[in-house]
Structure formats: structure tokens, C-alpha cells
């Protein structure tokens, strides 16, 4: 190995910092919250810390937009800012902001100390953002760990509930288990190519024959990443963890880390031109869709039902990974964004309705919600319709593009499985809608009014759901350009 680096002992330049600006902003706000937490009065200033976190995530959104103007590599080929990374930065920071909005009321009702909570969300977002822009497996690994560890902790935040700590330990142990697989894959990839930098790996694999070791490496990395996105057969943890974790956090961890991991998966699958991609994805996608949907059919707990649905949606999303890059990447990105909008919205409703200690989470509790709170019921219905994939909601176009991309790659079988699955899915989503509107309320007590912040979160997610369902053009266009950037 040459020692050339000694000659270039330069310090990072300004543009280097610009290219990690959102991460910097998020970390700084996270630290401010952490420092202020013991100082301020918990009872009175619950909201102050939340607002600070909100400002932090908004600042991160702004800096993402600023950053978009200066694409390029930074920190000696560690991160790359391009339309692809900006798309995911924007998505993740927005998810963070919306989740913070949904948490305001929840934390108060559950009587949870908020300081570390908001700081952890922001720090977690740092990791997720970095995952989408990192082009070096070392950095991807650390970023993945940051996002994972923060979600392990957040999953256990309902400390008085036994199921919450159980969710946390299950998620933690299995997550670390999967991380070890991912890491082993990275080690073998390093062994196969002699590098951990994605562009170098790509060059190495493109020139000459692909060593068998690289195949095994891809397999092991897929095990790790597949676990994180809840793809079958690595999905088993999802229902348990989603049931036990606090509802706003489930909204968070079913979208933001997933989006980030999908970004990594896109890089590995498409940028590296992972060998053997097709069969692997085919089976995983088909299994995820089927197991997720069938599992959801008999669920009585709404959080659990949504957990199974999120497995199924991971399956739909994986279908895009089996398609050709120029169609698959944009459709996967579009799906990620749509899914984020509708799922966070659904969990926002769940977190409000759950009440203290998340008492009301079964399907029966939801009976007559349509009469008790028409606004909440209407919002939930919209999100569920979008999850089914009804036109003029985001879910429709998301599925539409994914399936059409798959069909252009001649994956007729996979598309048929997907389409059949989306019919089965209609059954259990409709079951919720039927319960909400067509059953008599079990409990006529007045629901607490929807507070302003939660209302804002619902409005944002609902409008995004409809916007993406009515005018998907701009987002899709941007995603297509990102695909171009990713593939050079």
C-alpha cells in the first residue's frame, strides 16, 4: 500500500462540511437538547424541548435544500451528495419533523420524560441521513448502528410497560444478530475486492470475473439489511416490536430507518451491480408480501396489524429491486416516500387514540370511531385506503410504478403475486374501516380533542398522501434523475 496520503495532509475544507451539514445541524440540536434537559423544568417545559427538536429538524430540512446546490464527494470519498442522497435526506428529516409533531401529545399523555427522547430521535436521524449519502462501507456500518441503537432505545421508552422493554430487548438482540451477519458480509466483500469503498468495489467487480466470495458477501449483507427492512424470512421480529414500542416511534422506525436501509440496499444492489440479485429479491419479495398479508388477516391488535402490513409493504418495495435499474430505482424511491406518508399518518392516529398506557389498540376499541371523532376516522380511512392502493392516494401510484417497473423487466410471476396480494390486503384494511364506521361504539366517552401539533402532523401526512396520489410527476421525475446520478 502506498503511503501517498502522507503527502496530502490537507484539512477538510468548507465544502466538506457543507456536504454533511444536515447531519451537523441535527447533532448540534441533539446536543443542545441533551444539555438543556436536566436544566429545564420537566413539567412545564415538555413542549419547549420538543419545539427545539422540531426547529432542529426544520433546520436540517433547510440545510438539505441548501446542500443540494453543491453536489459532490466529501471527506476523502466518504460521503457523496447528489440528487439521490438529497432525496433521502429530505425524506428522513421530514419524517423526523412529523414524528416530533406527533410525539408532543403522546409524551404528555404517557408521562414520559422527554429530554433524551427528542435527542435520540435527532441523533438517530443523523445516522439515517448518513446512510443515504455514505459511499464507504465503514461509514455505512457506523451510521446503521447509530440509527439501530437509537431505535432500540426508543422502542423501550414506555418504561412502565413490560411489553415495551420486551420489544426493546427482542429488537436489540435480533438486531445485533443481524448486524453481525451484515458485518460478516462486509468482511467477505472486503476479502473479495480488497476495498470497502463502494466505487472501488464496483470497479473491481466490473473488471474480470466475479469471485464466489462476493456472492456470499452479498448474501450475508442481504440478511442483515433484509432484517432491518423487515423482509421475509427475516421479518419475524416486526410484529412483536411494533406492538410493544411507543406508537409514534413505530411510525418513525417503520419509515425513516427503513428508507435509509433501502437507500443502502439500492446502492449495494444497483451501484455495485450485486450479482445474483434477481432470484434473491424475487423470493424475498414474494415471501414478504404473502407472509405479511396472510399474517395480518387474523390480527386483532391494530399496531400488530400495521406491523404485518409493513412486512407486506417491504415486499412490494422489494419488487422494485428486481426490476431494471432505470425503472426500479425511481419506483422504489417513490414507494418509500409514499409509504412514509401514509404509515406515519396511520400511526399518528393510533398514538392519539391509544390513550394513557396505550390502552385502546385492539380492533374492537376502534368500533364507532367514525361517530366519536369523524376527523380522526376520516384521516385513518384515507391512510388505510392509501395502504390498500386506491387511486388518487399515494399508495396507488407507488404500487403502480413498482409493478409496472417489474413488468418491464418481464417479472410477470412476481407482478401477479403482488397484485393478488394487494387484493388480499384490501380485506384486512377494510376490516378496520368497517369497524370504524359500521360498528357501534363500545364506549361513548368523548375522545380528547386532537391537539394542534398532531393536527398539523395529520394534515401534512394526509396532504402528502393525496398530493403524491394526484400529482406524482414531480417527485417521480426527481427520483428518475437520482437514479441517473446513482448509476452515473
Amino acid at each position: 500500500m502506498s503511503l501517498a496520503f502522507q503527502a496530502s495532509q490537507a484539512l477538510p475544507r468548507g465544502t466538506d462540511y457543507l456536504r454533511i451539514l444536515p447531519e451537523l445541524v441535527l447533532s448540534i440540536f441533539g446536543m443542545i437538547i441533551m444539555v438543556l434537559d436536566p436544566v429545564v423544568d420537566q413539567r412545564r417545559n415538555q413542549k419547549a424541548l420538543g419545539t427545539l427538536a422540531l426547529i432542529g429538524s426544520l433546520a436540517a430540512i433547510a440545510s438539505t435544500l441548501w446542500q443540494a446546490r453543491a453536489p459532490g464527494l466529501a471527506f476523502w470519498n466518504m460521503v457523496q451528495v447528489d440528487t439521490f442522497s438529497v432525496f433521502f435526506h429530505f425524506l428522513i428529516t421530514t419524517i423526523t419533523a412529523v414524528v416530533i409533531l406527533t410525539s408532543y401529545e403522546y409524551m404528555e399523555v404517557q408521562q414520559i420524560r422527554v429530554g433524551e427522547y427528542y435527542a435520540l430521535i435527532l441523533f438517530g436521524a443523523v445516522g439515517m441521513c448518513l446512510m443515504s449519502s455514505a459511499v464507504e462501507l465503514v461509514l455505512i456500518f457506523i451510521a446503521l448502528e447509530i440509527s439501530s441503537i437509537s431505535t432500540y432505545i426508543l422502542a423501550g421508552f414506555r418504561r412502565r410497560a413490560a411489553i415495551s422493554s420486551e420489544a426493546s430487548i427482542k429488537y436489540f438482540l435480533l438486531g445485533s444478530f443481524a448486524t453481525a451477519f451484515f458485518l460478516y458480509g462486509v468482511a467477505l466483500m472486503f476479502g473479495a475486492t480488497g476495498s470497502t469503498s463502494i466505487p472501488t468495489i464496483e470497479q473491481h467487480l466490473r473488471s474480470g470475473s466475479i469471485p464466489v466470495l462476493a456472492y456470499v458477501a452479498i448474501a450475508l449483507m442481504f440478511v442483515g439489511l433484509g432484517f432491518k427492512v423487515a423482509a421475509a424470512p427475516f421479518h419475524v421480529w416486526t410484529p412483536d416490536v411494533y406492538e410493544g414500542a411507543p406508537a409514534p416511534i413505530v411510525g418513525f422506525m417503520s419509515t425513516a430507518p427503513k428508507a435509509a436501509v433501502f437507500a443502502v440496499l439500492l446502492r449495494i444492489m444497483f451501484q455495485i451491480h450485486a450479482p445474483g440479485r434477481l432470484g434473491l429479491i424475487w423470493v424475498a419479495a414474494a415471501l414478504s408480501m404473502t407472509l405479511g398479508n396472510i399474517g395480518a388477516l387474523v390480527q386483532q391488535n391494530v399496531k400488530r396489524l400495521l406491523a404485518y402490513s409493513s412486512i407486506a409493504h417491504a415486499g412490494y418495495l422489494l419488487v422494485a429491486f428486481a426490476a431494471l435499474p432505470q425503472n426500479g430505482i425511481p419506483s422504489a424511491m417513490f414507494y418509500t416516500a409514499s409509504y412514509a406518508a401514509m404509515n406515519i399518518g396511520a400511526f399518528a392516529v393510533v398514538s392519539h387514540f391509544g390513550g394513557a398506557g396505550e390502552r385502546y389498540v385492539t380492533l374492537e376499541d376502534y368500533s364507532g370511531l367514525g361517530r366519536r371523532s369523524p376527523v380522526l376516522a376520516a384521516a385513518l380511512t384515507l391512510f388505510l385506503l392509501s395502504l390498500i392502493g386506491i387511486p388518487i392516494t399515494a399508495g396507488f401510484f407507488a404500487k403502480f410504478y413498482v409493478f409496472s417497473a417489474a413488468l418491464q423487466a418481464n417479472l410477470v410471476g412476481l407482478v401477479i403475486i403482488g397484485v393478488i396480494n394487494s387484493a388480499v390486503a384490501a380485506y384486512y384494511y377494510l376490516r378496520v374501516i368497517v369497524v370504524v364506521y359500521m360498528h357501534d361504539p363500545r364506549d361513548e366517552s368523548v375522545l380528547p380533542a386532537v391537539p394542534l401539533e398532531l393536527g398539523a402532523a395529520l394534515a401534512i401526512t394526509a396532504l402528502t398522501t393525496i398530493y403524491l396520489g394526484l400529482l406524482p410527476g414531480r417527485v417521480l421525475d426527481y427520483a428518475s434523475r437520482s437514479a441517473g446520478d446513482l448509476l452515473h
Binding site: K170, L173, L174, F177, F181, I210, V212, Y215, V216, A219, L220, V223, F227, A232, P233, F234, V236, W237, D240, P275, G276, G279, L280, V283, L291, I294, G295, L297, V298, Q326, P330, L385, I390, P391, I392, F400, Y401, F403, S404, L407, Q408, V415, I416, V419, I420, S422, A423, V424, A426, Y427, L430, V434, Y437, M438, D440, L471, G473, L476, D477, S480
Partner: protein
């Protein structure tokens, strides 16, 4: 230079009405709600009339782009509207009949709860239906297509406190989803091979392809998939099961959605895609066969139904079968003609049935009616007209359209014709049976019995139930006027398309001609239908010179005879000798039970599809995978209580190590697969 007609207003006006009623309807008075709903629907109808008036001055097809929608790479779809002769006919039918049914609903729904909701949904339905009809590309059409399904779901489940209504809504929705896959996959195929979903471009591509006579190629695949979609929406075999259940909705809904407009969307879609079908004879044949079978099958079920709305529902399915048959023999204009006349007389039948139900206080069982003609003469008269029309009594609208279909079917294959005539006989029979059971004879209901009424309409707080005590009464004028108008249309509606053989010039066929003939394939498809084949794709003029007028008149005579035979038989059985049907039923015990139970198709589907999925999910995944596989045997040292609670706990998973086991096993499979690929 084509004028800008602001076509977008036609669908958007009802949407505004729906929005107003949906958001503030709760605070409005009933008058205000009605005014809003009728005004916006009426404005839409006025716009449609305006388009019709300007039609001759338009370059056909007339395209208007409202706004760009999706531009992803080479794929493009806009919010754009498309008017040609076909969509104009549909437009007028939908807005016209829709308006009449809106008016009728004022009277019918006046006493119901959720009045604003009803009109909101109704307007919403109009929005989606008009989007479907006016769309200039398949994607926009699909949005309307799914939207009408959604609106129909909402309206079927309108009396949602009734469990049967809720589950009927769900059934309709899910069966429709199955059909929608076909449609959706067809769209994907179009995107893949044509790169576009715009009608003009798709048809251009399709027109440039050769007829797939011997080989089943791309167009056949697309055609068959579109057929699956159409079968779902238009309730054809095997996806018809939702329509009878959909009768749980309020009667105006049944009239508008499940008779006149939405269910005909499948026919419209096939007619719209005729360029594709004309080049895919196999797909066309499937359409024809399914249509024929459905027509016959539903008609036989209709014979044994006792619920007045169920009879009409099966009759609708059967008539839709006729329309499919027409499309299947490439007589698209005949199919659309029947669609239009059917909208008139079937809409009328449902409205009249609603009026009957209204009159007898919510009763729907025909066995408890009878002798009503004196008490509700207007309803009786209009319904009689509609019945004559659907039965094919000469001079009324149904006669002309059905005759046209049968004649064209005969030219494709005598088998189609024969089944068609038998169905015509059955149609006439069950419709007159309905008339005799309802209006003739003595009243068999128990007016003073409170409980029956309550039982039949448990959740409907209808004061008309109370009126039942005071006797049967004619409906208010606001309901009778639409009946009268539709009756008028049912009489005269056929005269615009009198076939040449009956001395007419078939103006309807000529009007639609440009749509269907301009793109007809240069080489005639060899229709693969069984039996004698004749080239189906010829102009009516050509056909006349080919076969001669006498033959056609003879066939007309046969179908009229069949209709009259049905009338006679119904009269014989249900007026003269009311005891006879029961004896026949007893004699044909098994067959009658099968027919009365709709051939047990619902039960079959439940056992075949629904049950396995739900139970499989429950047993295989839940009990099998977790309870069965997971160890329930326990350590000996554990005491009895622990034993019980632990065995309960261990029965279901939740065990971390099992989860890790799945992950490890999955990892092994993934590694094995990848090693296999790598070393291959």
C-alpha cells in the same frame, strides 16, 4: 381549430356538490342539501347537452387537456378528456339518468338519516363515473373505475348498521379488486409494449398490428386481461356474485349504480378498446361466450327469486350478458345501444320497485305483495312499460336493441342466437312473473303486522313503516316524475336505432359508426366461434345485402314469439293457476333448490377461496408454525401451576430463539442460493 368546451367541468361540478354536502352538509337543511346536489348534477347534465349541441362542429375525437399529470421519462399521462360519439352517448346516459335518479332520491330518502351523506356519495359517484367516461387515457379511466367502486362500496354500505349491508359492501369491493388486477396488468402490458396509455396512441399501435388469428399474442393477452376487469365491474361469470348482494343498498343506488351506469362500465371499456379486441379474435370469443353464459345463467336464477330487488339484480346481470355478447361478436354499437335502452328501462324498473317497496313499507318479498295495481296505478303503469321493454315486446326500446344483438349474434354463430332467444324467453317469463306476483291477484301482505316490517328493515327508521298501517299509498310526485320520464324514454328510446329490416335506417349504428369502423382491421378476423361463421365486421348495409331482409324478419318474429311465450307462461302460472308453481317446484325438487339457492355459487366460493385463506392463515401460520412446531413439553421440575401457565405461553411463539432460528434458516437458504448462482 376546435373550440374549448371546458369538458373538465362535467365531472368536477358533481365533485363540488359532493364536497359541499360532505363538509357542511350536516349543518344544512334538507332543502339546501337537495338544492346543492341537484343543482350541480343538473349543471353537469346541462354541460353534457351543450356538448351534444356543439358536437357536429367538433373534430372527432375531440381532446381537451386540462393539466399535465405524469411525465416520467417517455411515459406520459395527462388530465385530459376525450369526446367522441361513444363517450357522448355514455355522457348523456350517465348525466341524464343520474339526474333523474337524484330527483327520485329526494322523495325516497327524505325520511332517512344521513341524508347529506347520501347525496354526497351520490355526487361523488357521478364525479368518478364521468371521469371514467371522459378520460382520454387508461390511467385516468382506471382512477374513475376504482373511484366508482369506492363510491359503490360507500353506498351499498349506506345502512351500515345493518351487518348484511356492511358485508355486502365489502364483498363488492373485494370481488371488484379481483377484476381490477386484470385491468391493471393489462395497463402494465400496454405501458411495456406501447409506452403509453393514451387512447389515441394505444389504438394507433394496436391498429398497426396484425390480427392474431392463429396465434395468441400480446393483443389477445391484453384483451383477456381487460375482459377480467370488465367481468368484475359488470358482474359477469365468474365474478358476478357481488351484484345480488349489492341490493342491500338503498334502491335509488341500485338503480343508478347497479343497473344504469356503473355496471355498464365494463361494456363501455370493452367497446372503447375495440381496436384491441378486433385484432384478438380469441379474446373476443371469450367475451362472447362469457356474455352468453352469463345471460342464460343469471336468467335461470332470476326465475326462482322472491325478493323483488334480487329478481331485478339477476335480470341486470343477464342483460349485461347480452351486452357482452354483442361486444363479443364485434357488434359494439349494438352493445352500446342495448346499454342505453337498458339504462332507461332497468333504471325505471328499479325506481318503480323502489316505489313499490316504499308503498308497502319496506317489504321486498314478492310473496307478501299482490293486487297492488289499483293502489299504486302510476307505479304499476310505468313498471309495466319497463317490463314490456325488457321482455322485448315490439315497439318498445328493449325490443329494438335486443333484436339487433340477436341478429348480429346469429351472424356469428347460431349457438349464440339460440341461447339468446332462450334467455329472452326466460327474461319475459320472470319479469311478468314479477309483475303478476306484485300487482295482480290479492294483497298477501299483513299491513297491520308491525313486526314483519320491523324485521325487514331493522335499522331504517322509516316512518313509512308506520304508514303501512294506514294502507298502501302512491309515492309522492317527486318520485313519480322521474318514473314517467324514464317510461317515456323506455318507449321511444329504441326508435333512434330501428334496424333496417324493420324499415328504419338504424341511425344509432350510423352515429357510432365512425368510432367502430374507422379502425377496423383491413383483414377480417376469422371468428373462431363454434358453428357457422360469418364475417362479423361488416356494416349493416353490407349485411342486409348479404342475407336479405326476410331472414332477419323471421328471426325477429321468433324472438317476439319467445317473449310472448314467456308472458303467457307467467300468466298461466302466476295468475290463472297460482298453485301450479309450487307443484312444479316440488316435482323438480333438487333443481329448484339449486336455482333458488343461486346454484350455491356463493357457498362454493366461500369453501374454495375465502375459507382456505382465512383458515390457512389461522392454522398454518398461527397454530401450525408456532403452536405446533414450538415445544410445548416442559421441564419436569416445573410445578403444576407453572406448567399450565407456561404451556399456555409456550403454545404461542414470541420466543426470541425461534425468531433467531428463522433468521438463521433464512440466511442458510440465501447463502445456499447465492453460492449456487456463483459457482454455476
Amino acid at each position: 381549430m376546435t373550440p374549448d368546451l371546458h369538458l373538465w367541468l362535467i365531472p368536477v361540478l358533481p365533485l363540488i356538490g359532493a364536497a359541499i354536502n360532505g363538509f357542511v352538509g350536516r349543518r344544512l337543511t334538507r332543502q339546501a342539501i337537495v338544492t346543492v346536489a341537484i343543482a350541480f348534477c343538473g349543471a353537469s347534465f346541462a354541460m353534457a347537452l351543450y356538448v351534444a349541441l356543439r358536437f357536429s362542429g367538433l373534430a372527432i375525437p375531440h381532446l381537451e387537456t386540462l393539466a399535465p399529470w405524469i411525465r416520467a421519462g417517455s411515459f406520459q399521462a395527462d388530465f385530459a378528456f376525450y369526446v367522441d360519439q361513444l363517450s357522448l352517448v355514455m355522457l348523456l346516459v350517465v348525466t341524464g339518468v343520474g339526474l333523474l335518479i337524484h330527483i327520485y332520491s329526494i322523495g325516497y330518502m327524505w325520511e332517512e338519516g344521513g341524508f347529506y351523506r347520501f347525496f354526497c356519495y351520490l355526487n361523488l359517484f357521478m364525479f368518478f363515473m364521468l371521469t371514467l367516461v371522459l378520460a382520454s387515457n387508461y390511467l385516468l379511466m382506471f382512477i374513475g373505475w376504482e373511484g366508482v367502486g369506492l363510491a359503490s362500496y360507500l353506498l351499498i354500505g349506506f345502512w351500515f348498521t345493518k351487518d348484511s349491508a356492511a358485508s355486502a359492501g365489502k364483498k363488492a369491493f373485494i370481488v371488484n379488486r379481483i377484476g381490477d388486477f386484470g385491468f391493471l396488468i393489462a395497463l402494465f402490458l400496454m405501458i411495456k409494449h406501447f409506452g403509453t396509455l393514451n387512447f389515441d396512441r394505444v389504438f394507433q399501435f394496436a391498429a398497426s398490428m396484425s390480427v392474431e388469428n392463429a396465434t395468441a399474442g400480446l393483443l389477445t393477452a391484453i384483451g383477456l386481461l381487460l375482459m377480467v376487469g370488465a367481468a368484475g365491474k359488470s358482474a359477469q361469470i365468474p365474478l358476478y356474485v357481488w351484484l345480488p348482494d349489492a341490493m342491500e343498498g338503498p334502491t335509488p343506488v341500485s338503480a343508478l349504480i347497479h343497473a344504469a351506469t356503473m355496471v355498464t362500465a365494463g361494456v363501455y371499456m370493452i367497446a372503447r378498446s375495440h381496436v384491441i379486441f378486433e385484432r384478438a379474435p380469441t379474446a373476443l370469443m371469450v367475451v362472447a361466450i362469457i356474455g352468453t353464459l352469463t345471460a342464460l345463467f343469471a336468467a335461470t336464477i332470476g326465475i326462482a327469486q322472491t325478493d323483488i330487488k334480487k329478481v331485478l339484480a339477476y335480470s341486470t346481470i343477464s342483460q349485461l350478458g347480452y351486452m357482452f355478447l354483442a361486444c363479443g361478436v364485434a357488434a359494439f354499437s349494438a352493445g352500446i345501444f342495448h346499454l342505453m335502452t337498458h339504462a332507461f328501462f332497468k333504471g325505471l324498473l328499479f325506481l318503480a320497485a323502489g316505489s313499490v317497496i316504499h308503498a308497502v313499507g319496506g317489504e321486498q318479498d314478492m310473496r307478501k305483495m299482490g293486487g297492488l295495481w289499483r293502489k299504486i296505478p302510476w307505479t304499476w303503469a310505468t313498471m309495466l312499460i319497463a317490463t314490456c321493454a325488457i321482455a322485448g315486446i315490439p315497439g318498445l326500446s328493449g325490443f329494438f336493441s335486443k333484436d339487433e344483438i340477436l341478429w348480429r349474434a346469429y351472424q356469428a354463430s347460431w349457438a349464440y342466437w339460440l341461447v339468446g332467444v332462450v334467455t329472452a324467453f326466460l327474461t319475459s317469463f320472470y319479469m311478468f312473473r314479477l309483475m303478476y306476483m306484485t300487482f295482480a291477484g290479492e294483497y298477501r301482505g299483513v299491513t297491520s303486522d308491525h313486526s314483519i316490517v320491523q324485521e325487514q328493515a331493522p335499522a331504517r327508521s322509516r316512518p313509512s313503516a308506520a304508514q303501512a298501517h294506514h294502507g298502501i299509498h302512491e309515492s309522492p310526485r317527486v318520485m313519480l316524475i322521474p318514473l314517467a320520464i324514464l317510461a317515456f324514454l323506455s318507449i321511444v328510446g329504441g326508435w333512434i336505432g330501428v334496424p333496417g329490416s324493420l324499415g328504419g335506417s338504424n341511425r344509432f349504428d350510423r352515429f357510432l359508426g365512425p368510432v367502430f369502423r374507422a379502425t377496423a382491421p383491413a383483414v377480417k378476423p376469422q371468428h373462431a366461434a363454434p358453428g357457422e361463421t360469418a364475417p362479423p365486421e361488416q356494416t349493416t348495409e353490407g349485411l342486409e345485402s348479404h342475407t336479405g331482409r326476410g331472414t332477419e324478419l323471421a328471426f325477429t318474429g321468433i324472438s317476439v314469439f319467445a317473449a310472448l311465450l314467456g308472458l303467457y307462461l307467467a300468466r298461466l302460472l302466476y295468475l290463472r293457476r297460482p298453485a301450479l308453481p309450487e307443484r312444479i317446484a316440488a316435482a323438480l325438487n333438487g333443481l329448484y333448490a339449486a336455482v333458488a339457492n343461486k346454484y350455491y355459487v356463493d357457498e362454493l366460493y366461500a369453501t374454495l377461496f375465502v375459507h382456505p385463506v382465512v383458515e390457512g392463515s389461522k392454522h398454518i401460520l398461527w397454530h401450525g408454525m408456532d403452536q405446533g412446531v414450538i415445544d410445548a413439553t416442559l421441564d419436569n421440575s416445573a410445578d403444576a401451576t407453572r406448567h399450565v401457565s407456561d404451556s399456555l405461553r409456550h403454545m404461542q411463539s414470541g420466543n426470541l430463539r425461534s425468531y433467531a432460528g428463522w433468521v438463521a434458516a433464512g440466511a442458510a437458504v440465501v447463502i445456499a442460493y447465492m453460492v449456487w448462482t456463483g459457482t454455476r
